[in-house]
Structure formats: structure tokens, C-alpha cells
Amino acid sequence: MKRISSPEGLETERKRILSARDPNKPCITVCTGTGCHAAGCYPVAEAFREVLKKNGIAGRIDLRNTGCHGFCEKGPLVVVHPQKILYQRVKPEDAEEVVSKTIQKGKTIERLLYEHPASGERIAREDEVPFYKRQRRTIFGDNGNIDPASIEDYLAIGGYKALATALLSMKPVDIIEQVKESGLRGRGGGGFPAGQKWESCRNAAGDKRYVICNADEGDPGAYMDRSLLEGNPHSVLEGMIIGAYAIGASEGYVYVRNEYPLAVKNLRIALDQATEWGFLGGDILGSGFDFSVKINRGGGAFVCGESTAMMASIEGYSGEPRPKHIHTVESGLYDKPTNLNNVETWANVPHIINQGTEWYRRIGTDGSKGTKIFSLVGKVNNTGLVEVPMGITLREIIYDIGGGIIGGKRFKAVQTGGPSGGCVPESLLDLPVDFDRLTEVGSMMGSGGMIVMDENTCMVDVAKYFMNFLKEESCGKCTSCREGTKRMYEVLNRITEGLGQDGDIELLEDLAFVTAEASLCALGGTAPNPVLSTIRYFRDEYEAHIRDKRCPAGVCKALITYRIAPDRCTICGRCQKACPSQAIEGKVKSKKPFKILPEKCIRCGMCYEACKFDAIEVV
């Protein structure tokens, strides 16, 4: 029975675990985050297991499946310890060589090392790779060092020390003071001061309190919370237990999005282990504090990320938000005082307790302390999850860490904050990333999605994409939101079909006003942001669509034509073969270049993809 019943017992156990581990023992860590999963990491892990077994060295070399390392573009990722050599795009057939060459002979395998795109230099150490070098991986860094299904791994890196300190050396009000002083703001999108929320909840009248972890992560393109829950679930739990103690809550819920089965699985394992070891349940670490956590799976509704809708969902209802003049910290889940925070917010708490507010406040800007994890995706070279101090500029994130735009194309905009956010143009690339600065320019931090767009992204199409999303995800209760998002989509769709009219921009602004002002919750309240920000910074694109019936980026099907450049056509016929609507005329090996018939062309782009000679252009 492993149950630990005191802080002393915890440290004894930690010493025992560490003494059985040799930091110099060779260890192969294989990233098994979802991105690497899609890239095929499990066959790689299997291959390593086979190699170690075959050579009878499984006892001398550790093999560990870890959570997401963040550098998703280069997966499957493997890091060889203790040298911390990073290998990227590893294939199962590489396993043999990694073991024999790197581990046994101490030599690196050039072709698997990260290659600097400009200098061609091969970089071996993980922390020297530019992608990682500029980051500050306080919260996310441990993902690469632990097996999420092993609580012992978590203890080995100092896990649950903050919990012991909080429960046995601090009073609840002191914990709240510390969190307030740290300046921690909610990482889910609202950016509300966490300590203040905790205090209001603690002070609310009532006999029972709840804490909730919002893991609904509905913003398309954002997957930080998922990777944190999959890769280091105990860090989130530890934060929740500390928070529950400070607030006086006896029960907690983790509401996980339906589309995250691995996160649910790893969280369940962590909950079971934490309970077994005494970090959850009754009389935690001998403090007299009882606390238990349940997992609640979402049913597939973006609106359930909104706190009152989430609580309705946990109660077993459809996710319709409730009136906001009733504060959930006073009357939330089952009408009891409830404190809801995002996954990343909870994960910050143990660090604040362990290292103190002075340390925490040194990171970030005046208004936004600490670090933030972003999902850097879209038309950027190094897509993945990055953790940076608040205050770093967009330029540094996109170019120094992200490696710039794919294919050397021109940067156009970066979309932050998901469907509630906006697009930030090139002129603002030196904007320091922080809650208030992003809001000032018409976007918002949101949960941390950062979608990079290039010259071939149509901003009107982007606005239309978000409106399509929102009109489907609106709960539908408020006329202003349900009809507002629907009609904004309708106008944007018309514009992209070449049916835009003078006055459409003003019409969109009218709809934006009523949707934002008249709706009950933040879904409607922020729905117009993608439209308004693209009108603000890319009005010329709207006008090109409306007045000239032209899509400058070459995206909107109704406004573009595919054309075969006769001088580049090799008369191979690939395009004709790929065309689903018999819109290309020509004969293979004849003297005449192929030709696209515009009246039959459905602008599907298959010919463009099929042509190996760059002979097809979009006009």
C-alpha cells in the first residue's frame, strides 16, 4: 500500500524513487503526443522496445513514452538522455542505429538531427535547437521527461511538493494571497485574475463548494490543454487540489472535450494513482482536507467552454448559458459557489507555490505575468506548441521560434484567440504578446491558438470560415447571436461568391453591433471579432471582392479561374486525368497544350495539384 500520509512521508518516498534512478543512465524518450501519433510514433516506440529486447540490454537502457514535446512539425521525436540529443522524423528502421551508434558508441546520426534552414548547420542538443532555445518551458517542459502514466516519474521531478507545502504549511487565505500577488490571470481566454476569483468563491455564502477544470478547449487550432492533460496530468491535478483547499471545495470536476480520448485515459490513470497514493480522497497528506475529482466528458459543443454552459452540461442539460448577473463564484454548479479555471491556469499554481511570487512576477509584462503556451500552426515552418514569457513579440514567436513562413511566402496575418479573436497584420508584428495589448488591437489572447496566414490566405474567406463555425455552434437561444452569426455568414458568403454589394461592409458592422451588444454570453459577445478585425486591417480585400469581384489571394472559387500556361504545359495529360468534371481538353503527346474550359471548370484545384510542372496558374 503506497499511501502517503504526511509531507515527511512524501519526501522519504521521493528520495527512495530518486535513489533508485541513475541520472546518467542512458534513456530513450519517445514523444507520444497526438501530433507524433499522427506521424507514426507507436511503431517507432515498438521498434526501440524490440531492439533493446533483442540485444538483451533492456535493463541497461531506459525507454520511456512521454507526452508531447511541442515540436510537432518534426515528429516522431526522440530524445536520447543524458546527452539530450534530439532526433526528428525518426522511423522504426532508425531504432537499431540510434541504439548502437548514439547510445553505445556516443556518436550522433547527422540525418536525424535538426538542420538550421538558413545555415544548414546540424544541431544536436534539444535546448540549442532554435525552436526550443527561445522558449521558456516552465509549465510544458516536463512533458518530455515523464511518462504520464507514471506517478513515480512525477514525484521524481518534484511533484506534489507544492501540495504538501500548501496543505501543511500555509493557511487557505495565505494561498489565495500568494496567487493574487503573483498576478496569475486565467489562461482560458478571459484573463480574469485567478486569485481574485478564488477569493470571491471562498467568501461566498454556502455550505458546499466546487472547483472545475475547463478542458473543453474548443478553439479550432488550439491543442495546448490537450497536450498538457495527456503529457502531465498530475501537474494540473496538483494545482486543482491546492486551489480546492484554498477555496474550501470538497469536489472537483475536469470537463474534457469529447474529441480527446487519450487525455481522458491519461487523466483517469492519474486520478486513480493520485487516489491510491493519498493525494486525493480523505485526509490528504494528513491535513484533514478531503477532496475528490470526477471526469466529465463533453458531448461535442463549442459553447460548453463558456462557464455557465459548462455547468449546465455537467448537470446533464443542454449547454445553454445562464444569465451573467448571477456570478458563478456565488451560485454556479448546482447553485453552489463554484470556481472554474482553465487547465493551464491550474498548472501554473504549483510553480507559484514552489518558487514564490517574486520569481513569478519577474516573468512577463506589468499586466500579464508568467508564461503562456501557444499552438503555433498554419503556414509556419515550425508548427507546434511553444511556451514563452508574456511580452515576447509576435515576430519573435513566428520567425525566431516558428522559423518563418512555409515556402518563403509573405506573411499576411496571425489569427489569435480562436473564433473570439481577430487577425493581427504585418504592421503589428512587433506587438508584445500580452492580454491587454492583443485586446487593444482588436484581437485577444484567447486560449492560445496562433494561426499564421500567408499571401494565399483570403481574409474574407477567413471571416466567413469563423462565422460558419459560430452559426453552427451558437446554442441558438438569443435572437441576436443565432440570427446575427447566420446573417453575417450569409453576407460574407455572398461577397465571396461575387455577389457583394455596396453597403455590405456597413451591413456587417450593423450585424456585428447587435450580435455583440445584445447577446447573453461571450460566444455572441465576441463573435463579430473575426469580421471586425479583418475589415479593420484588410478592408481593401473586402472592397476588391465587392467592387471588382476579385479575390486577390486566389482563394474564393467563384472569383478565380484556373488557367494552363501554354508555354509550361508538357502535354502529359495528368491534369485531364485528375479533372472530375471533364473540363480540360487536349490530347496526350499531341502538339497542342492542354486547355481548361472555364464554363465546365468547378475550381476544385485537382489539376493544380496534379501538375508536376507548375503549368497551372490561378488568376
Binding site: A301, K471, G476, C478, T479, R482, E483, V514
Partner: protein, 236 residues
């Protein structure tokens, strides 16, 4: 007693009331569609928006759901409120251009045309029918289904509403009168919910006065003996 102002005028209200009924009683005209004093406020139509100033902060909110609070300043005719109202009624009119009640309300607010593609819906999704059916009648026969632009008010599986007792409460409360009830001899039909029930005849006067199904439900709920509803209310 809670004292506050509406458009500069002092009003008094009881704790627990919301702004809208107090304002209407005091003679202020605030358009509304989904509010009915017999059921809990819902806040779906958004027409009853007002601006509320409290502790130095002003926000736009639905007056039907906002609880009266000491010292708040309510404004019902600000530029923002009027603009929002007009846009909302335009959106409802675009949804249901055939509803006379909506056309009338729109006209009163100065909205004659819509700038969007007209749909041909008739239900304005105010939810009053379901709210009355749940809160007062207790039959729970219909409710909202789906979400977003696909939200509708339907019986389960869009089939006949099998727990409907054909009392007609929903028909009465519907602001746009799109539910419909008709009686053909011994049958009563609630048109929209495809519910047809056979009516019971009074043992004394011979008139059909209520559906069998409904009377049975009442008798069972109130634990009354058989034969309790053999005679109609007029003859009793």
C-alpha cells in the same frame, strides 16, 4: 421596497422582481416577445434590452431577467438600445416575414424592409409554448432541439407529441399564433404538434368538453376516483 430610476423617473419595486414588469406597470413601453408573467423570464428574444447603470458601470441587458436593485439607473431609449431593438426586430422579420404580429411590431419600431434573404419560418423561437407546458401544465410535450441556426421547437423525433394533453395553453400564449387548435366534432387537434385527441362527452348536456387523455391525467395526478370528470364544468 427597492427604489431605482427608469429614464430618470423614480420607481419602486419588491425584491425579487425584474425590471421589465415594473417598467411596464409604470407605463414605460418596452417591446418584448418572449416575456410572459405566468412563467419564469427566459431572455431569448433580446427585444426588451435596456441600459443599466450600476456602481459607475453601464451595460446593456435584457430587462426581463435583470433583478431590480437599489439605486440602479435604467435607460430604455438610448441610441444604442434603439439601434439594437431595430436590428433585432429586423432579424426576426427576416426569419418570419409572414407573421402579422412581427410585421406590426417592426413597423412600430420603424423597420419596414429586411436586408437579408427572407426565410419562410413562422416560429420565432421564443420558447413560451415549452415553458408554459413545462412550468404550468406539467405535460413536457415539446421543447427546443438542436442548436445554432438549426434550433427548432418540436415534439421528440418530430412525431406526434405523445404527452400533450391538448389543453391549448401553448396556443394561447404563442405571440405569433402559429400553433393552432381546431375541433372537429369529437376530436380536438393541436395542429403544430400533430396531436389529435378524442373528446369526452358530458353525461348531462352531451357536449364534448375536454380530451379523454387530459382528464385521465388530471384524475390520476389528483388521485380522484373514476367517474370524477363525467360531467362538464357548466353542468356541475
Amino acid at each position: 421596497m427597492i427604489r431605482f430610476t427608469i429614464d430618470g423617473q423614480e420607481v419602486q419595486a419588491e425584491k425579487g422582481q425584474t425590471i421589465l414588469p415594473v417598467a411596464l406597470d409604470a407605463g414605460f413601453e418596452i417591446p418584448h416577445l418572449c416575456y410572459n408573467e405566468s412563467v419564469k423570464p427566459y431572455g431569448a428574444c433580446r427585444l426588451c434590452l435596456v441600459e443599466v447603470r450600476k456602481a459607475g458601470r453601464t451595460r446593456m441587458t435584457t430587462s426581463c431577467t435583470y433583478p431590480v436593485t437599489e439605486g440602479i439607473e435604467v435607460s430604455t431609449q438610448t441610441e444604442g438600445v434603439l439601434r439594437a431593438r431595430r436590428l433585432i426586430i429586423e432579424l426576426v422579420l427576416a426569419m418570419c416575414p409572414g407573421d402579422d404580429a412581427i410585421r406590426e411590431m417592426a413597423s412600430e419600431l420603424g423597420v419596414e424592409d429586411v436586408r437579408f434573404e427572407k426565410e419562410d419560418k413562422d416560429c420565432i423561437l421564443c420558447g413560451l409554448c415549452a415553458r408554459v407546458c413545462d412550468e404550468i401544465v406539467g405535460a413536457n410535450a415539446i421543447h427546443f432541439a438542436r442548436k445554432g441556426s438549426h434550433r427548432e421547437m418540436i415534439p421528440p423525433f418530430e412525431k406526434e407529441a405523445t404527452t400533450c394533453i391538448a389543453c391549448g395553453a401553448c396556443v394561447t400564449v404563442c405571440p405569433v399564433d402559429v400553433i393552432g387548435m381546431r375541433e372537429d366534432g369529437e376530436e380536438r387537434t393541436i395542429t403544430r404538434w400533430k396531436r389529435t385527441l378524442k373528446m369526452k362527452q358530458c353525461k348531462v348536456c352531451g357536449n364534448y368538453f375536454a380530451p379523454w387523455f387530459q382528464l385521465e391525467k388530471f384524475r390520476q395526478t389528483a388521485n380522484l376516483p373514476k367517474g370524477s370528470f363525467d360531467v362538464c364544468p357548466s353542468c356541475r
